[in-house]
């Protein structure tokens, strides 16, 4: 049900011409990797992003409904995603692998399942 809701939101935003969601990684060839992710009860969209090791990442986080958290403890990343304006996180992945992310701001019945991954490739 939540996946269906998330998909509906994605379709609606794409239909509205939102450039931020056209591709998860907008520019992998320049000096930085630009990645966008949406937060909403109780999903990240997309719930998995892929970036390259050793190349700086600019991660733009936005929320569609309320305050959410973004916590990737094994990557040392943590921020709150405030409504109203994107939150930007910058980091350079130093090791390849799959790194979990989760919402650490309690947001309701389903909060415990609000999680995703950052995949770092060589």
């Amino acid at each position: 049900m939540r996946v269906a809701t998330a998909a509906a939101v994605l379709v609606a935003l794409l239909a509205g011409g939102s450039a931020a969601l056209v591709a998860a990684v907008r520019d992998a060839e320049g000096d930085e990797q630009h990645v966008s992710m949406l937060a909403m009860k109780f999903d990240y969209l997309p719930d998995q992003i892929t970036v390259k090791k050793g190349k700086p990442v600019v991660l733009e986080l936005s929320t569609l409904d309320r305050l959410h958290g973004f916590d990737a403890p094994t990557l040392g990343l943590h921020t709150e995603i405030q409504p109203g304006a994107p939150t930007v996180v910058r980091f350079t992945p130093e090791a390849a692998g799959s790194f979990g992310i989760h919402c650490d701001v309690f947001c309701g019945d389903g909060h415990e399942g609000m999680a995703g991954h950052i995949i770092v490739t060589e």
Binding site: P73, E80, H102, D104, F106, D109, G113, A115
Partner: protein
Amino acid sequence: MSGKFNDIDRRQFARLAGLGGVVFASGLLGVAGGAHQAAAAGADDFMFVQLSDSHWGFSGDAVNPEAKNTLKKAVAAVNSLPMQPDFVVFTGDLTHTTDDAQERRRRLGEFRDIVKDLKVKTVRFMPGEHDASLDNGAAFKEFFGETHYSFDHKGVHFIVLDNVSDPAAKVGEAQLGWLQQTLAKIDKAAPIVVFTHRPLFDLYPDWDWATRDGKAVIDALMPYQHVTVFYGHIHQEHHQMTGHIAHHAAKSLIFPLPVAGSQPKRAPIPWDASQPFKGLGWRSVGAEVKQAAYKVQEHPADKV
């Protein structure tokens, strides 16, 4: 030892204490060198009961088809103990969360009505994130009062900490200041028990099993020689030390959660019809005071 807790047949406790049977007896004061004067003078053995994570209002037959009965069974089981505890403490998530503020209050009210059937009338409460994080504890306070407080019982200092009313899982500067003021009045050798909902240490941050500023709490407690923490949140028994401070997580009364990191997501463990109530339970805690403590003072032979 002749304290009343020690008069109870421990095997009988094991049979009675819980849905599936849980016994935990902690020598709260039984630490070598712990001959604290106040404890020796004023404390007596006693027992309390910890219940946690009842999530009243939860529904989901796949994980607990007995959701409407489990809390009531626990209340009946505590009432059937041959020796009633001095008090009962609920370490949070009394109710299951809801976005509907009216429904939240209905669940809190129903929970309160159920636990009124406990024989023991001293019952302590604190919120979990399901009770308090969506309204910063407002509804909880209407039913159960303050979310952090302290009290003394038979020479033991009990401190209740709220690490859930802030949805970002912080104790916060104001409460940390209150904690430091509270601790400043306590002897470093005094027995201290902390009740809280989330683990104060980083048990498994990937599943949000932590308190964002929990290290500041542990740092404040560290100078005290006899500190024990009882908490809930993780829906399973777990024991860990941070230095000399012991942390004990309790089972839930609604559904068990898997061991940290044992599966990709922290989803509830499904109900096992062949073993109803498996993984659910509560605990009794016996505080055993070592009476045979000796204060030794040496005297020179040349003084009369």
